[in-house]
Amino acid sequence: MIDGGEAIRFESVSKRFGETEAVKGLDITIEQGEFFSLLGPSGCGKTTTLRMVAGFEQPSEGRIFLDGQPVETVPPYQRNVNTVFQSYALFENLDVFENVAFGLKRRKVARDEIRRRVTAALELVQLPARSDAKPRELSGGQKQRVALARALVNRPGVLLLDEPLGALDLKLRRQMQLELKAIQREVGITFVYVTHDQEEALSMSDRIAVMDAGEVKQCGQPEDIYERPRGEFVAGFIGISNLLEGRVEDSGEVAIGNGLRIPAPLPNDCARGDAVQISVRPEKIAVQEIEPGMVSLEGRIETRVYLGVSTQITVSLGDGARLVALEQATYRAQADDRWEVGQRIRIGWRPEHCLVLR
């Protein structure tokens, strides 16, 4: 699927709007055939980055290469790139077929071939039956499919998608995520996908760049980002909670506020006395059933929330430190009625599941 060779290269790309620095010093290379996501909160510069690739904005500094060629002098309509807009931007006066055929017609593709390719594209997005509907007659999900077909039918080198599923309800979103990923595998086109939904990025992408305030904070595979987030922002953004403030001790342990010392896999460059944060994911915390080799602590149950497939309990460790544990309802126990608020229990985790952030 990923056949090497670069599709897009950003070289120290910055973009300013007056005082606002929308994108700062972007240095990324996106491989051909890759599903690459830009993940970050609203206003962090994702759309601006896409628009520079499409040619709707020019970088204030730095250069962008498409297929190895610099593109600053290439107008949008000559770039081998197509966009799926967040608002779909379908042409209301044209029917579905004509919308999808728009790009091919501008490129003077022969009539027969247009018919063939549009039909194939509509089949790819599973919408062949609606080819003579007007956009306003379509549901949100169907519009999304037309927007996708309209871009893919041109077989661009790169497809840019700006929060394409943002307007859909959750169920449809999940379904479209799977379909999008399958389509991308099938056509093998490089996808640059913008989203602020970490779950979406993690589940679909080959690689993710996490952005904050115009800067890429971390770029890597989903597992990298999720298991080894670099810095507090990335950790927080991909949904890591359970942070405990602490200080590095001689022994390679981290002392947290209430005098507890917790063994943790420290990064090499940590020195004694450094302020760090440690985190253990809720689903990695064992409640009461501590296994040999685990780090374990005692605490008191503060709250218990039944979530169906699991139960979420908050354990107070004293001195304001608390950790959240998610206990799955497994064959072992019925999680919902095992614990009571106020009960004292032991929690534990494997040392390698403890994350140290600086």
Binding site: F56, P76, Y77, N82, T83, F91, E92, F102, R136, N154
Partner: protein
């Protein structure tokens, strides 16, 4: 009081206004159009439908055709000038957008009659334009502007231009700017994007502007009276003549009625098209 009742109550002043100042005069006009005049020129109610035969007398055909022709030319000119202006304001106006719109409307605070009158000073044989042309040595004996069709059409265009600009501006402003980017993204050049994306997306605004210009332009008499002459008289001048010079109220009223019926047909076509577009937009 139910909300419904309250809503219908709030309609009362407007309804009273319409009945008193629109429907009643319309009824009187209609009644007089079938009337006759006595020896002193006073209109009398009667049954004299022959007034309408006279409207279609070949004698008046040139005036009626001229009115429609001038109004159509005015619509075309307003569109040619107004669309680029609206486009510029909507797309590139930025934070000056509302100021620019205000500037478009500003001349309308001055009475139409006065504004057109000013043109006579500019275009007359000894007027501003001829003065400049002479000073530049381009002409010696003055160019004839007044009393030409172009002066009348120019006056109409100047008078009603804002009616074209505003609806087109509104349509452009409402349009999703991503549509233009989508056009360019799909390999359309600037012109193709306009032709295949922007123009269709704003066509309802063009239609509205055209109707808003066409309707008053057909019935206009000020421009032809001040900037034109007998050769450029429009139906509005004819009607005015019947009422104020010929003292033939019944014939003037018959002309008015026919003109209104003609305009009503346009109105109905437009409203149906606009209604359909609105219904489609809602769906």
């Amino acid at each position: 009081m139910s909300e419904r009742r309250f809503a219908s109550l709030t309609l009362l002043p407007g309804a009273a206004w319409l009945v008193l100042l629109f429907l009643v005069p319309l009824g009187i006009t209609l009644a007089i159009s079938f009337g006759v005049t006595d020896e002193l020129g006073n209109a009398l109610y009667a049954w004299h439908p022959e007034n309408y035969d006279r409207v279609f007398d070949p004698l008046f055909a040139p005036v009626l055709l001229r009115s429609v022709g001038y109004a159509a030319a005015t619509v075309a000119l307003c569109l040619l000038i107004g669309y680029p202006v609206a486009y510029y304001i909507a797309r590139f106006g930025g934070r000056y957008k509302y100021l620019l719109v205000a500037l478009v409307v500003l001349p309308f605070l001055v009475n139409y009659l006065i504004r057109v009158y000013a043109w006579t000073a500019i275009l007359s044989d000894e007027g501003l334009v001829n003065g400049v042309l002479e000073d530049l040595g381009l002409t010696s004996d003055g160019v004839r502007f007044l009393n030409t069709p172009w002066a009348v059409i120019g006056g109409l265009t100047y008078g009603y231009l804002a009616f074209m600009i505003l609806p087109i501006y509104a349509a452009l402003d409402r349009m999703n700017p991503s549509l233009i980017e989508a056009g360019k993204d799909l390999y359309a050049t600037g012109w193709q994007t306009f032709r295949h994306v922007t123009w269709p997306a704003t066509f309802q605004g063009v239609l509205a502007g055209s109707v808003l210009v066409f309707l008053p332009a057909v019935g206009d008499f000020v421009s032809a009276q001040l900037l034109g002459g007998p050769d450029t008289y429009m139906v509005g001048n004819l009607i005015q003549q019947q009422f104020f010079d010929a003292n033939n109220f019944p014939f003037g009223a018959a002309l008015t009625t026919v003109l209104m019926a003609f305009l009503l047909i346009f109105m109905v076509f437009y409203l149906r098209s606009a209604g359909r577009a609105a219904a489609e937009a809602r769906a």
